[in-house]
């Protein structure tokens, strides 16, 4: 079966970003960019399913500016077979991303779409669920285990109370949680090979999708700074402070 994987280009998770001083946006000048960690897990899962013989083809899709090709190439180096870039310079919001992905799904007809549960920049945690709604697919969000059997996939989900197992008819949308797998590193030969794999480019207009934002960011600001407190000398002083100064125990 064919699998579509959505990969997003985001600021590397090690970078501590700051708002610009005029509050119009986040300072992304010369900041290291990478594949969203949850999307890396999504690719890895697709590759493992291919290694098990369940999946025959993996298509990696990214939406954004031309530079997103870098993240698609990484996905190809990790084992995806071909890439699709939906090129746009507009900041596309989750509903529009989901509509674009639906248009790609309509063309490619994958049996499963794997996305990250959340992008570590927008922290929206929406896109997979929206795509599932638009395509009418079932959804297995926050997955920590994915088992495909015939026309169904059984997904173990990480939920607030512990874990939940659901059985979904294919085609299905799966969004990855952190413990689904540990992504591999791309080897040098595979990085070289990835350069020759096919990568198609299209635009939102080609796909007939209106990406006009529904939500406007008016300003961004740093969170209230927490003042570092004091170091206590020993446990006795700690207990005294908690009882008599902070009055929390």
């Amino acid at each position: 079966m064919k699998v579509l994987v959505a990969v997003k280009r985001v600021v590397d998770y090690n970078v501590k970003v700051r708002p610009k001083s005029d509050g119009t946006g986040v300072d992304l000048n010369n900041v290291k960019m990478a594949i969203n960690p949850f999307c890396e897990i999504a690719i890895e899962e697709a590759v493992r399913l291919k290694e098990k013989g369940v999946v025959t083809e993996i298509v990696a899709v990214s939406i954004g500016a031309k530079v997103c090709q870098e993240q698609i190439r990484t996905a190809l180096a990790l084992g995806a077979d071909r890439g699709i870039l939906v090129e746009t310079d507009v900041e596309v919001q989750p509903l529009a991303i989901a509509k674009l992905l639906k248009a790609v799904v309509d063309k490619e007809e994958p049996k499963m779409v794997i996305l990250g549960k959340q992008a570590i920049d927008g922290d929206n945690n929406q896109t997979g669920q929206m795509l599932a709604a638009l395509t009418g697919m079932s959804q297995g969000t926050f997955a920590s285990e994915v088992v495909v059997e015939g026309d169904t996939v059984t997904v173990t989900r990480e939920v607030d109370s512990g874990s939940q197992v659901v059985k979904l008819n294919l085609p299905a949308v799966v969004t990855t949680d952190l413990r689904l797998n540990e992504p591999r590193y791309a080897s040098l030969p595979n990085i070289m090979k990835a350069k020759k794999k096919p990568l198609d480019t299209m635009t939102p207009e080609d796909l007939g999708v209106d990406v006009t934002p529904r939500v406007t960011t008016l300003k961004v600001e740093p969170p209230a700074e927490r003042q570092a407190g004091i170091k206590v000398a020993d446990v006795a002083e700690l207990v005294d402070k908690l009882k008599n100064e902070a009055k929390v125990i």
Binding site: V165, N169, R214, L218, K219
Partner: protein, 309 residues
């Protein structure tokens, strides 16, 4: 203005997260309806009717909603929700699973995890693991919103007297089914609702050593949490993870033991009122947010703290 809230419940009772969501709805202002979608959920609906500030409770009691599968509940929310100006749910795993699906069915955006209401269409929400706070304005006719529960003080669970109305429509998408659930059983308070949280990190070395934290927590009436490193290493189950991609907590007292203070962890606990860090590395970043830092070996400090309480 009318507001529909998708209740967090377990058929028998209403979860605390619903009370925080009602508080956010009150901050928006308007007539508040709570939807209880479940199976044999009459008790939860009755409890919802008592919540302060709620004027109506809709009960959709049907086998299709028994395990609150997103495929089915989102169809119900989209059907009922088109008559409302706002649709809210707490940013729990349930709310996060269902609400974006309902938003897409209504062809509107979702605003995730708001932490404040600035006006009828403008809200604040954290992005980049809480390192940036964005003020966002929605232009959609129906505003679909998830609420970060720690940012809104719960309304009273008692005192209201809403009317209760049954909803007949049963939506069964027929493409998913519930298999089983593994619920972590604990006599300790729920992590996101506890007034004190004791969390352990990789410094705990193994799962058995968490017994020290359980003992301390029981003396304090606290819940126990963990860093991702501790969860990944298998010391404790995933539902204990605090952070950007785990649970967000904001207790009166947070005690971080053997946790370095990575930004992804801080994102989940830095709004706690008082933070205590116990770490043997005096340069650990956790000390930059701690009100009281103790540079010590946790294997000495934790038992000593336990015995001095």
């Amino acid at each position: 203005m009318s507001i529909l809230i998708l209740a967090e419940h377990d058929n028998a009772s209403i979860k605390g997260a619903t009370l925080n969501t009602v508080a956010a709805a009150k901050a928006i202002g308007g007539d508040i309806t709570v939807l209880v979608a479940g199976e044999a959920c009459g008790a939860a609906a009755e409890a919802a009717a008592k919540i302060e500030g709620v004027s109506k409770v809709l009960v959709a009691d049907n086998a299709a909603y028994g395990h609150q599968l997103a495929e089915n509940v989102s169809l119900l929310v989209a059907e009922l929700g088109k008559d409302y100006a706002y649709i809210l749910a707490p940013a729990t795993t349930n709310g996060k699973n269902t609400l974006p699906r309902a938003a897409a069915l209504l062809d509107v955006a979702q605003i995730s995890e708001i932490i404040s209401v600035e006006s009828a269409d403008t809200f604040k929400r954290p992005i980049y693991a809480g390192n940036v706070i964005a003020t966002v304005q929605s232009s959609d006719a129906i505003k679909v919103i998830t609420v970060r529960t720690t940012a809104f003080d719960a309304v009273a669970a008692e005192g209201g007297s809403a009317s209760v109305e049954a909803v007949a429509s049963a939506h069964d998408a027929g493409n998913s089914s519930y298999v089983r659930e593994e619920v972590a059983k604990s006599d300790r308070p729920e992590l996101t609702a506890a007034s004190i949280v004791v969390s352990g990190g990789r410094g705990m070395q193994n799962g058995d050593n968490f017994a020290m934290l359980y003992s301390l927590a029981d003396k304090l009436g606290a819940a126990v949490g963990a860093s991702r490193a501790a969860v990944d290493a298998g010391f404790v189950p995933n539902d204990m993870q605090v952070g950007q991609t785990g649970k967000i907590v904001a207790p009166g007292l947070y005690i971080a033991v053997g946790i370095s203070g990575a930004i992804q962890h801080l994102a989940g606990m830095k709004d706690s009122k008082v933070i205590v860090a116990i770490n043997k590395d005096e340069d650990a970043p956790i000390f930059q947010v701690a009100d009281y830092g103790l540079v010590a070996d946790l294997f000495d400090a934790v038992p000593e703290l336990d015995s001095s309480l």
